[in-house]
């Protein structure tokens, strides 16, 4: 893990990058990184995120600034601006069942070839996908999902990069921290090694590439 400033962290991200963003309706989302992406005007992004939050919050700000060209998400109903951009075909949106979304990212991070899920069989979601029969039951083969970057928000990060999350802010952060080439983390608190007990580490340090230093003073 390398400590990095907010500006340098975002400067690493090229236009057109694919980015996983942790959070669920803005809860547990790396808000400072998203703000900085807007400030630096990174554009034509592929965003992989549970939802589009709401205008003005979290990942929603990327839609306010029209920086997204492709979205993979489970639900964007609470962001009318993202919906509008989708219906106007300014962004391509793949809407994915939430459990499938979580599992596809986990598969990407765990080296699995895809996911065999009963979810979506017999629905629009199955269109164009392979059905695999196992013991007489049908499952959809859903592709593993990875990205160039994962932007992860932790509650605690220690000096080595071990992470823990709090309450419902955990959500997609741990699976995303395994499924990207470069993992950039913000944390509410950066703490000495040992503050997070070994049994309470939720993302082990070797998964973290960069930890954004907290504003000091």
């Amino acid at each position: 893990m390398t400590p990095i400033s907010l500006e340098e962290a975002v400067a690493m991200i090229p236009n057109g990058a694919s980015i996983m963003v942790g959070g669920f309706m803005g809860v547990g989302t790396p808000a400072r990184l998203l703000n900085e992406i807007v400030r630096q005007g990174k554009h034509e992004l592929t965003i992989i995120s549970n939802d589009a939050a709401t205008p003005g919050t979290g990942v929603g700000k990327l839609f306010d600034a029209a920086l997204v060209s492709r979205l993979i998400a489970t639900h964007i109903g609470l962001n009318p601006s993202a919906q509008k951009q989708m219906l106007a075909k300014q962004i391509t949106a793949d809407l994915v069942p939430q459990g499938t979304f979580a599992e596809r990212i986990r598969a990407g991070g765990c080296g699995l070839g895809g996911v065999l899920t009963p979810t979506g069989v017999g629905t629009l979601v199955a269109e164009g996908k392979r059905l695999v029969e196992v013991d007489g039951k049908s499952f959809l083969l859903e592709a593993a999902l990875r990205a160039q970057f994962a932007l992860v928000h932790a509650f605690l990060a220690d000096y080595l990069g071990n992470l823990s999350y709090a309450l419902t802010a955990r959500n997609f952060n741990p699976v995303m921290a395994m499924a990207a080439d470069t993992v950039i983390v913000t944390a509410e608190h950066i703490v000495p090694v040992g503050v997070i007990a070994p049994d309470h580490v939720m993302t082990p340090a070797p998964l973290v590439d960069y930890l954004v230093t907290n504003p000091s003073g």
């Binding site: 669920f24 309706m25 803005g26 809860v27 547990g28 549970n50 939802d51 939050a53 709401t54 998400a73 489970t74 639900h75 964007i76 109903g77 609470l78 919906q83 989708m86 219906l87 809407l95 994915v96 069942p97 939430q98 459990g99 499938t100 979304f101 979580a102 599992e103 990212i105 986990r106 899920t117 009963p118 979810t119 979506g120 069989v121 017999g122 629905t123 629009l124 979601v125 509650f155 999350y165 709090a166 309450l167 419902t168 802010a169 955990r170 959500n171 997609f172 952060n173 741990p174 699976v175 939720m202």
Partner: protein
């Protein structure tokens, strides 16, 4: 008692001690108001919590403790948190005993449509498809009709949420089951006749000789 309260009270009676229950937004959320704490039902919020409690007192909200809509909730003693892969492992793996979901349409075989209206409302399915595919029991809580049109249809013309039929539909007028693959009238709402139900039900409805009245 208004329509929503009738539905929520009736659905609440389906929950058993120790059940793990996931409530969708809308009418399903109201069900929690009618479940006694003695029943020790566990409510799951699919954003990563078992043991959701009531909305916290003002000033005690925590920004990192919310429901799937991002609204502040509380956690009861014995609550547990987890990531989204685990949350949907619980759902898809059949560990959720009951899910209660809203509906746009349910057809004569029990298939539910509740996630999109083509060309109009395309919000994404969120967790709905996993819940219908994976929960042990799926209960739909919805108004029987909307704008005079039956929501219990012969065949869904909206995209279905799952090929798996739901187990029970509870409306302001009736309780309908699908145990043998056919819509069967199980109960009538207080003061509602079988004839009134038939009049606003498009799907073919099996009606047994005597249909008991809902207890709520």
């Amino acid at each position: 008692m208004d329509a929503q309260e009738i539905i929520a009270r009736r659905v609440a009676r389906e929950l058993r001690p120790g059940n793990l229950v996931n409530l969708g937004i809308g009418i399903p959320t109201l069900v929690a108001n009618y479940v006694s704490a003695d029943l020790k039902v566990f409510f799951q919020s699919e954003n990563g919590l078992i043991g959701t409690g009531p909305i916290p007192e003002q000033g005690l909200e925590h920004p990192l403790l919310t429901d799937a809509g991002g609204r502040p909730i509380s956690a009861l003693p014995g609550a547990s948190t987890f990531d989204s892969a685990m949350s949907f492992g619980l759902i898809r793996g059949g560990h959720v005993d009951v899910t209660v979901l809203g509906g746009l349409q349910v057809d004569g075989q029990g298939r539910l449509a509740n996630w999109m209206i083509p060309g109009k409302m395309v919000p994404g399915m969120g967790g709905a498809m996993d819940l219908v595919a994976g929960a042990k029991r799926v209960i739909v809580a919805m108004q029987h009709a909307a704008k005079g049109k039956s929501k219990i249809v012969v065949e869904c013309n909206l995209p279905v949420t799952s090929a798996r039929p739901v187990d029970l539909v509870v409306t302001d007028l009736a309780v309908i089951g699908f145990a043998d693959g056919k819509a069967t009238l199980l109960e009538t709402a207080p003061g509602v006749s079988v004839g009134e139900i038939m009049a606003v039900t498009d799907a073919e409805l099996v009606v047994r000789e005597s249909v008991p009245e809902m207890k709520i």
